[in-house]
Subunit: 582 residues, 2 copies
């Protein structure tokens, strides 16, 4: 009988010796690897924090005592120990739990969290509530894995010192962020590791926090001893724990970055189960940028700790001086780019839609007000399904309403490159480009790009269909379905989420009684509402198809598209229904 | 002849001895005080940094060498020395220059900046550009006055160490933020001051930065020596300068916080020229919160370094344990509140519209996804005129499109308190309240508040006027003007910027051919566009009146209201024009 079979709740850990718990750690590593090799998931961060999580649950009493995982992608072991192990043991239940902490799943989880640097602030709030209620539970934040470079972590550490409550801050130092750890602070962590916690300048002590160091963060006895020793300290304390990311899986140890998150793979060599081949937009973008560099354009590719998703590794190797990864520090990625653009460089910043919202003030205040020509390439702006923490349909409401910022939505590779070239040629202000997420499409006949010119693909009457970005193929399909009903609709590629084309819009009047907008984003704050307001005082009716303003939890993308009338059948039906009403 | 009369550009400083420059500092203090006593402005920060600015311009060669002021509200001396002194010497020119650095004014300014913690990132960008172009100019960032608590400053310091370029980072340590300096870092600065820069834990060194200390930051010789010594160092260096906020003006020295920014006042005693009296919304809000505390509701009032604007001083004195000022750390203010709400407390966060955008990710990811019942009271959400860095009309596009977040817009004191009470009674999710900026209005007949119920103030036909928040009085006036034209319009107080009332909206159909929305916010992403989309597929026309999506530079509020058709005459005319078209 395995040890894991005996563990159904954290209290069960107390029935075992430390040696057995060390064995449990290996069993958990095995089930972690077995599942993620099938489903994909965060590999390295979870392999490194198995012992830490076991020891915490052995010493503390969850959920009375509370643990808050930063980012929470390293909470797999926590889930296994708190009644959710079936999701790792039984393939039929592999999708029962999310990849992040989730209060809907368990009383041992307190926040749905998937963005970094949040744990210390959230845990500080729980500590304040505890002291208000005199419940004396112990609060722990677990931060690490690159989260320390985010400004929110600093703001929270700074305030934790002032609030001065019992708060255990575990710095899980696995020596890596998602990509290499960037920034001066990682040098300080390295010095602290080298000196067994005794380095002369200590960031945490400088912030007014108490501090202790654990040299072997994968040794359960050391961890139990450390937790026992600090458990009842009445003030905030940083417990700096040196762990090994990817521990127990050779490929993950050899390439920590590639194994931060991984697609399904073969055990034991780690080769991917499916290899994606063929054209993709990121390689096309980088080839275009390369050409601009060859022509003397001072392009710098920039990124915040996730180069892999944008294929930036080759760029970084070819142009080490033209590549900047600021670490998990989205605010700095934009403010630094603002300064670079002011100095005459052409920074091109690669961001995921969900993370760029962390730089909202910088986009508006630093870039927008100063009209600085930073180019941004946005990944994942789509109706995504899956975890709400990484929901992709909120980017238009975020970016498209910032003054001076142009947010473009290309539909094909020709369009994408034309827009990128235009964005690099102009110096009037920031331009973001929503890179389509629906595979590479081509339209060699696309006209040159001009920022406020829609592309009219087909001239019809009665109905005009506007398929924004990745919704162009849907609009094309709906065009065919309407044609089968005897309606010869107009088809338009708007090309921009937020700069309208008054001339084209005015020309549609008279020949069209209904304009239909289709967008992969929330309707509130989006493209369709801008069109609806434009036609508000006219005789043109507008039907806006897009996502509802809400966080989705377990829905699939397909179910969402259907619900939002963004499939060929549902969209066509919605249009025909609207036509009947007007 | 005064020294100041001889200074028309920075190079003129070189014609003077250090003793004369010290005299110049006193002359500049005099003109600073004379102007701000008439116009209002940032008093303390500018009085403290006079010598620092003189010494920098004496040693460096602006604009070839570049200085970037954080927040830039301490740039008055810089402006006086760089050709703009008339704006302090001649009352007719008092309004010629803005209160912040402004590239439109001078080649010595590089960014329009009014939010904190931006300088190091921006200056790092300039340094990268310099090195790309091999121009060898010296780049300096001046940070301090509370800006060090913002996470962006940390992200930028962290990256500056890694980028490792010539970059002088002046930490202007005047021992104060806007309010008292909060957070562990200020303890470290105090230790560094106490030990003449030799404290055993040094935050800047821990971040991997070189460091030097200047004990008397108001002594020009010391400052010149320090700048000369570090000028050509080829890596990033923090020059920690101990200055005296409010120096040279007794009232400002005695109450540094009150004199950070001040309304017009009488010299020399500092008494205000105009005393505002009478009812105001902030006192009403705090009285209501006080009552809730008396009834056992665990309310915590929270703030990010600007308690004065919300009248929070009395609250803090009465309830020190129920008051939290996180310092200039807007992200932490929301994440901490999220944790507190999860723990069962009822945090009420007071924010200015322009600064809350710094916590966009926290509003969406921490509060929204987790549906945590944090209440936020928003100041300054209005068409503001003046500096674009503090523009007030962007808050709806920011807040109202975040899922799960309700953004209310009361119109009267009864409405405001009813909405606040409702927000505190519910636990479904975050609620922000846009506190009206148009003086205290009263309507004792306002019905109880329910979140998706509009308040129909007058039932008419043909046209329905929706006056959102502070636009209700305008809508009432327009109602009268339309009545004089024989049109009996319907008058509606929508009460919420982002939760529609489908029942009421559907009832308007049939009896109304035009719905007019009036809002003090940008149209893009705002209330009117939501209404326009709602009625898009119907026979109801919609006219949206509000602000254009753009940053305004020198326009007055009155001019903007007129341009945006938000005055009684312009609104009425726009409505009558629209009516003719449909």
């Amino acid at each position: 009988m395995s040890i894991l079979e005996t563990i159904n709740q954290p209290a069960d850990l107390r029935d075992h010796s430390v040696a057995e718990l060390q064995q449990l750690a290996e069993e958990i590593r095995h089930v972690l690897l077995t599942k993620v090799s099938t489903t994909g998931g965060h590999v390295g961060p979870n392999l490194g924090s198995v012992e830490l999580t076991i020891a915490w649950h052995r010493v503390f009493n969850s959920p009375h005592d509370k643990i808050v995982f930063d980012v929470s992608h390293q909470s797999y072991t926590h889930k296994i120990l708190t009644g959710r192990k079936q999701a790792w043991l039984d393939p039929d239940h592999y999708h029962d739990v999310s990849g992040f902490t989730e209060p809907r799943e368990s009383e041992h989880d307190f926040f749905t969290i998937g963005h970094t640097s949040t744990s210390v602030g959230l845990a500080s709030g729980l500590a304040l509530a505890r002291d208000d209620q005199n419940t004396h539970d112990h609060i722990t934040a677990v931060i690490g894995d690159g989260s320390m470079s985010g400004g929110l972590a600093y703001e929270a550490l700074d305030n934790a010192a002032v609030l001065n409550r019992q708060l255990l801050i575990v710095v899980n130092d696995n020596q890596w962020s998602i990509a290499e750890n960037h920034g001066g602070i990682y040098q300080n962590l390295a010095e602290l590791r080298k000196t067994n916690g005794e380095a002369s300048n200590n960031l945490f002590k400088a912030l007014g926090l108490d501090y202790r160091y654990v040299a072997d963060g994968n040794d359960i006895q050391s961890l139990i001893d450390a937790f026992e020793a600090v458990k009842d300290i009445d003030h905030p304390l940083v417990l700096h724990i040196n762990t090994q990311k990817g521990r127990g899986f050779k490929p993950a140890l050899e390439n920590e970055e590639a194994w931060h998150w991984h697609v399904p793979f073969n055990l034991p060599d780690g080769s991917p189960k499916h290899v994606s081949t063929g054209e993709n937009y990121w390689d096309l973008i980088l080839a275009d940028l390369d050409e601009h560099v060859q022509h003397g354009v001072p392009i710098y590719a920039m990124n915040a700790a996730v180069p892999g998703g944008f294929h930036l590794k080759d760029w970084a190797a070819k142009y080490p001086k033209r590549y900047i990864d600021v670490g998990i520090a989205e605010q700095e990625s934009i403010t630094l780019a603002a300064g670079m653009a002011k100095g005459g460089l052409r920074p091109v910043v690669f961001h995921s839609a969900t993370f760029l919202q962390r730089a909202y003030d910088q986009l508006s205040h630093d870039l927008g007000i100063n009209s600085l020509p930073v180019v941004m390439l946005i990944n994942g702006g789509r109706i995504s399904g899956g975890d709400p923490t990484h929901q992709g349909d909120l980017d238009q409401a975020e970016l498209a309403n910032i003054p001076n910022l142009t947010y473009l939505a290309p539909t094909t590779k020709e369009d994408l490159i034309a827009q990128l070239d235009w964005a690099l040629a102009q110096t009037d202000g920031p331009v973001a480009i929503r890179v389509p997420s629906n595979g590479v499409h081509s339209d060699p006949l696309a006209p040159d790009f001009a920022p406020t010119k829609m592309h009219i693909l087909h001239h019809g009457t009665q109905i005009a269909l506007m398929g924004l970005g990745s919704m162009r193929p849907l609009a094309e399909t709906v065009l065919g379905k309407l044609s089968a009903q005897g309606i010869d609709a107009t088809l338009i590629d708007p090309r921009s989420t937020n700069t309208l084309d008054p001339e084209a819009l005015d020309q549609l009047r008279g020949f069209h009684k209904l304009v239909v907008t289709m967008e992969e984003g929330t309707l509130d704050g989006g493209f369709g509402q801008k069109i609806a307001a434009y036609y508000g005082p006219t005789d043109v009716n507008v039907l806006t198809l897009g996502a509802q303003r809400r966080f989705n939890h377990n829905e699939t993308r397909d179910a969402l598209l259907k619900e939002f009338n963004l499939t060929p059948d549902t969209a066509t039906q919605a249009i025909l229904n609207a036509l009947k009403e007007i």
